[in-house]
């Protein structure tokens, strides 16, 4: 992530509009691979980066490469570190791309994936799951992400319905989201106060963590990640047109409300899934899109794919810091994203001459 400053946006050749240049794409992919290898390498047991890379390449179907790792080390890479890294990629990518999509759909630089009460809904769901101690037995699927996901979806549905009653404008939708979030947060606090013994557990969920037990979280997250990314990227050009405001977008032949609804609903699904598996990781949905805008410009056709790649890499690196800084203890990842992200963003802001909002 830190080397984004090295890429310079290529001048439009002739009359091409903004598009993702091969250079930016290769650069972002390099950052992703670097973050993944670093994260698989570093930990309580240090494993040589080249061997990790060989092990990764060996996993590609049809390719056989002997990494030379011992069985134990191979298991650490494949069974412990890899699921966590993949989940980090998916969560970071989803939060970043949905943040960018929300900001474009609402034309508001402060819109984040939690705008419509997703965080509060998921928080309430998780709190209920933790306090009621459901399905804590071994071998069962962890119920917390599933109940949190349901809570997030309920929050979005209520926000949408309430915003609809309020005149179907963007502002009424956002205000409804604020009201729903406050209500659900109050409900969560009430549940928590009645069960003070689980405050610590709920608190650690709220601060977010990328922790995995095998591949089940990845399996839960993957379909939402794919759908969200595909649909949102498909609407990149529509979001670019929406940037001129609803009236002018309509004069250019679009139906702004329909586009906004599609993008917001799909993004909410993705963000709800991310929150369900990783807790409330703040900041990523705002900071990654803005950094990409400052470095590469505001066109959604460039912004959205780069948010997917660099958001994933950012989350993997943040998780690496979260589990190594206070080793063997783990920092909540929300703390790390803010600690790393805020100063980095100020640097980008300072060095950029671009006007993005």
């Amino acid at each position: 992530m830190t080397d984004t400053g090295e890429f310079v946006v290529a001048e439009d050749e002739g009359l091409q509009g903004s598009r993702l240049t091969a250079r930016a794409l290769v650069g972002a992919l390099t950052v992703v691979v670097g973050a993944v290898v670093a994260s698989l390498t570093i930990g309580p047991v240090d494993i040589a980066p080249l061997r990790v890379l060989a092990e990764l390449i060996d996993r590609i179907p049809g390719v056989h490469l002997d990494s030379g790792l011992s069985t134990t080390h191979a298991a650490i890479v494949n069974e412990i570190r890899l699921p966590r890294v993949v989940l980090g990629l998916l969560v970071g990518a989803t939060l970043s791309v949905t943040g960018a999509a929300y900001q474009g759909a609402f034309r508001n630089p402060l819109a984040d994936p939690y705008l419509l009460g997703i965080a509060a809904g998921a928080g309430l769901g998780a709190t209920i799951a933790i306090t009621s101690d459901v399905g804590d037995g071994a071998g069962m699927l962890d119920p917390i992400p599933i109940v949190a996901f349901a809570g997030a979806l309920v929050a979005v549905v209520i926000s949408y319905a309430a915003g609809h009653l309020g005149g179907r404008t963007t502002v009424s939708l956002v205000l409804a989201g604020v009201a729903v979030a406050s209500f659900l947060t109050a409900a969560q606090t009430y549940v928590l106060q009645s069960n003070t013994d689980v405050i610590r557990e709920v608190y650690s969920w709220i601060l977010g963590r990328i922790a995995t037990s095998g591949w089940s979280e990845v399996a839960l997250m993957l379909p939402y990640f794919v759908v969200t990314c595909v649909v949102v990227m498909l609407y990149g050009r529509a979001l670019d047109v929406l940037a001129v405001g609803d009236e002018e977008a309509a004069a250019l032949g679009l139906n702004p409300r329909r586009i906004r609804t599609t993008v917001v609903v799909v993004s909410s699904l993705g963000a709800a899934a991310a929150v369900a598996v990783a807790g409330l990781i703040g900041f990523v949905g705002i900071i990654v899109p803005h950094t990409v805008r400052l470095a590469f410009g505001t066109s959604h056709r460039v912004l959205l794919p780069l948010c997917i790649l660099l958001g994933g890499a950012f989350m993997v690196l943040a998780d690496l810091a979260a589990r190594t800084v206070l080793e063997p203890a783990e920092l909540p990842i929300g703390v790390v994203t803010a600690f790393l992200g805020a100063p980095f963003f100020v640097l980008v802001l300072r060095s950029s001459r671009r006007e993005v909002w």
């Binding site: 001048e11 439009d12 498909l234 047109v241 940037a243 001129v244 009236e247 909002w357």
Partner: protein
């Protein structure tokens, strides 16, 4: 000349305020009509109704087809709109901004074709914007920016151009530049131009016809010299002016209050004799 826009008995109510109150007008293909009127007369609302941006009663036809039957893409291919205060997205380059104008032709799920880029190239050349193509629209001066916004409307390749106060933010020289440009483009490609203008002298210099809006209807309509009389301006704008003729059309000169004869202003209170103006509201073009 054939009629391209026909509005019949159009009514628009915003909240509980009746903005358009049974307005009718015919606009000929290739015509330039300037819509004038006091603040709040409904000029912008008329443009938005033609554009389908506001719900209305009555009927508006474009080339004989009811606009309600148009889907939005088809309407956007027929009508281009330059709003009074265009929203310029931060960071957007001139090229990207102009390419937005191709949206009605290619939708939002496919990329720009060679033809799309060719249209943009022609507009860049025509409006002398080639040197600006990679600049951010927001970084341009007021006059350059207005050319770019006009450029996006031209890239739409529609036959009707709606201009809402296209000269508001411009100094006199740039006002002339923009209106001269519109006039040339109209002559080159047979555009129909519907513009709202506040400056009555400019409205008289450019275009074929002036329509005066008052109380939600077209109160007067005709050639500038016929419509822009001292009495009509006093009546509709509650303004005390002298109308001169420099041989090229009417020139409207405001008369300062201290020079007024004592009782001219009070003789024509705003909104008086609405009934008589409504009686003469039939458009001359019909």
């Amino acid at each position: 000349m054939t009629t391209t826009i026909t509005a019949r008995d159009v009514g628009v109510t915003l909240g509980d305020h009746v903005v358009l109150d049974g307005l009718s007008i015919d606009i000929a293909s290739g015509e330039w009509i300037n819509v004038i009127g006091p603040n709040g007369a409904g000029k912008t609302t008329l443009l938005r109704a033609i554009l389908g941006g506001v719900g209305f009663t009555g009927k508006i036809e474009i080339d004989g087809v009811d606009t309600v039957a148009h889907d939005t893409m088809r309407r956007a291919r027929a009508i281009a709109y330059v709003p009074q205060v265009p929203v310029i997205p931060p960071g957007m380059t001139v090229i990207d901004y102009l390419l937005l104008g191709r949206t009605p032709h290619r939708g939002v799920f496919s990329g720009d074709s060679r033809h799309d880029r060719e249209v943009v190239r022609r507009v860049l050349d025509r409006l002398d914007l080639v040197g600006f193509k990679s600049r951010a629209v927001r970084s341009l001066s007021g006059g350059e920016r207005q050319r770019v916004v006009l450029g996006r409307a031209l890239v739409q390749e529609s036959s009707i151009l709606l201009l809402d106060e296209p000269t508001t933010a411009l100094d006199l020289g740039h006002q002339q530049d923009v209106l001269d440009l519109v006039d040339e483009l109209r002559r080159e490609s047979g555009l129909t131009v519907v513009a709202t203008l506040h400056d009555l002298t400019l409205a008289a210099r450019y275009g074929d016809r002036i329509a005066v809006m008052s109380q939600g209807i077209i109160a007067e309509s005709g050639p500038p010299a016929q419509v822009l009389t001292e009495e009509l301006i006093r009546h509709h704008f509650n303004a005390n002016v002298r109308v001169l003729d420099d041989g090229d059309g009417p020139v409207i000169v405001p008369v300062a209050a201290k020079r007024q004869p004592p009782d001219t202003r009070s003789s024509a209170p705003r909104g008086s004799s609405t009934e008589s103006s409504r009686a003469s509201s039939q458009p001359s073009g019909s």
